[in-house]
Amino acid sequence: MSSVTPRAAVPRLDQPGRLTQLRVARSEWTKLYSLRSTRWSLLAAVFLTIGLPVLFAAVTASHWGSMSPQEQAQRDPLEIALAGVNLSQLAVAVLGVLVITGEYSTGMIRASFTAVPRRLPVLWAKAGVFALVTFVLAVPSVLVAFFASQAILARHDILQVSFSSPGVARSVIGGAVYLMLVGLFALAIGAIVRNTAGGISLFAALFFVIPPLMLLLPSSWQDAIMPYLPSEAGRAVFSLTHGSGSLSPGAGLAVFVGYTVVAMAVAAVLLVRRDT
């Protein structure tokens, strides 16, 4: 027909590689860092984790003189140091949801599943890479938050805790573990819901709406249910003190990991079964 020769033939590939889990993980790392939303969310999480404790410490230090002894006694230095985790978990969770729903909303998921037609390696790689990145950023963040807030509160002996005191290191690092697990839980929710708004709403409902609603229940019910909510079980991981209404750090961790594993398993089953 046409006598025009093609502008360029397609260059051949010397060695077509096989698909492996490790390679899919590398691919997911590229996907993660190459999006602006990822960089901003992670920056926000780091900023909040460090910034909020610094702010609270500064306010506490400057108002110390005007506080009643009773009020002073209520200040918990570790609560101040980990105050940022309460807010930065939202940034981590939103990113966790987006890591997967962003692919559904843009259609990228079709390209991903064409490259990796067995699909599950994509979920494992997303979870692994995201957990690693979150943890690697969260550990220095909580450490900086702890030592910075302690430095600001240095003048008030009553608010000084040693990192080597029982439970302190566990609580601080627990804050980072909690953030990582929140991210994984949110990622699983995103994979189940496949919709950004829906995923974030579901996460917010579970972590921010349902817990205060529990206070409307009779207190015997509260005591039975509250500690086992994902948010409360997770909180036990990074709380220094554990009253009768909360789980021990180990039990809290086990419960929260349990929720995350179940959510991830549901996500995996649906991911394989559903049409894309």
Binding site: R12, K31, S34
Partner: protein, 311 residues
């Protein structure tokens, strides 16, 4: 090589693909034709395993697509729906997909140059025009140097230069021995690129034949005859078991006899002929005739296939 047997897909009550059986062979460009909404895109998703069939089976190069050790080396796909994260650059999009198979950065650069996206490779794909998006999709499809190419409406949104480029690319890929399966709702496009056609309508197979055969079948071997003695010739030809239609006076459309047979019969009976023309339908006409019954969406007055309907 793509082999489908009894491939069926239901979405709720609606049957999108209905018992398709066909084979797409290497070495030629196979056109996949059908009106919008006839099930072309669904069939492509079934081939890739993005959707699971409700019945039947489809394999690529002898296996289910998902069972290949190196999927991108088996099939390169350009889907009709956009499959690119809008926030990622073309370069990083290709790199991320390449990395799943251990394909290096050099290959990514080569393909970006090949499809002519060099200047915009670092721009976010969300800012791409339709044509640039198509080029990125083609680079994605070629990433793994695949034995089989699956391209859904590849010329959509391309400028004339780009369309010309695609046509030649498809032909040279087929000439290299690859399986090239290209869907389109545009007959004219397929007439220029395809050697073989698989035509579907409402999810069912209508034709699986070479382009020439499809055209021949549609024209039904009619021969146009112009003669001053139309009535007499009609009787002669009817006696020879031909079927004869007459529109205008002095004009006959004859089926069942070749032009030679008609000429000889006319000569034997002393009928003068002014014109004796075997009718050749255009591929476009052939397509319209084939799919007449199976068009999903049509405008009431013109009965033309509606553009842009979701496939």
């Amino acid at each position: 090589m793509i082999e489908a047997t009894g491939l069926t897909k239901d979405y709720g009550d609606k049957r999108a693909v209905d018992g398709l059986t066909f084979t797409v062979r290497p070495g030629v460009v196979t056109g996949f034709l059908g009106p919008n909404g006839s099930g072309k895109s669904t069939t492509m998703r079934l081939i890739l395993g993005l959707d699971a069939p409700s019945g039947g089976d489809v394999t690529v190069n002898g296996k289910h697509y998902r069972d290949h050790a190196s999927p991108l080396h088996e099939v390169g796909a350009l889907l009709e729906a956009r499959s690119v994260h809008t926030g990622r650059s073309a370069y990083n999009h290709l790199l991320a997909l390449a990395q799943t198979h251990g394909i290096g950065k050099r290959r990514v650069d080569e393909l970006i140059d090949l499809v002519g996206l060099h200047d915009v490779a670092r721009k976010r794909a969300g800012q791409f025009s339709l044509g640039m998006g198509q080029r990125l999709g083609i680079a994605t499809a070629l990433l793994g140097d695949p034995a089989t190419l699956l391209l859904d409406e590849p010329v959509n949104g391309l400028d004339p230069e780009g369309i010309h480029w695609i046509r030649n690319l498809l032909k040279s890929l087929a000439a290299e021995g690859r399986t090239v399966f290209v869907s389109s709702h545009l007959m004219s496009e397929m007439a220029l690129t395809a050697d073989h056609l698989i035509v579907i309508g409402r999810g069912r197979l209508i034709a699986d034949a070479s382009v020439d055969e499809v055209v021949h079948r549609a024209s039904g071997g009619a021969v146009r005859v112009r003669t001053p003695e139309a009535e007499r010739l009609r009787d002669v030809l009817l006696a020879e078991h031909a079927s004869v239609d007459g529109g205008e006076p002095g004009l006959l459309e004859v089926r069942g006899l070749t032009a030679e047979q008609i000429g000889k019969a006319a000569f034997a009976h002393g009928v003068a002929l002014y014109e004796l023309t075997p009718q050749q339908a255009s591929l476009e006409e052939a397509f319209m005739e084939l799919t007449q019954e199976d068009v999903e969406y049509r405008s009431p007055e013109s009965e033309v296939v509606v553009e842009g309907a979701v496939a």
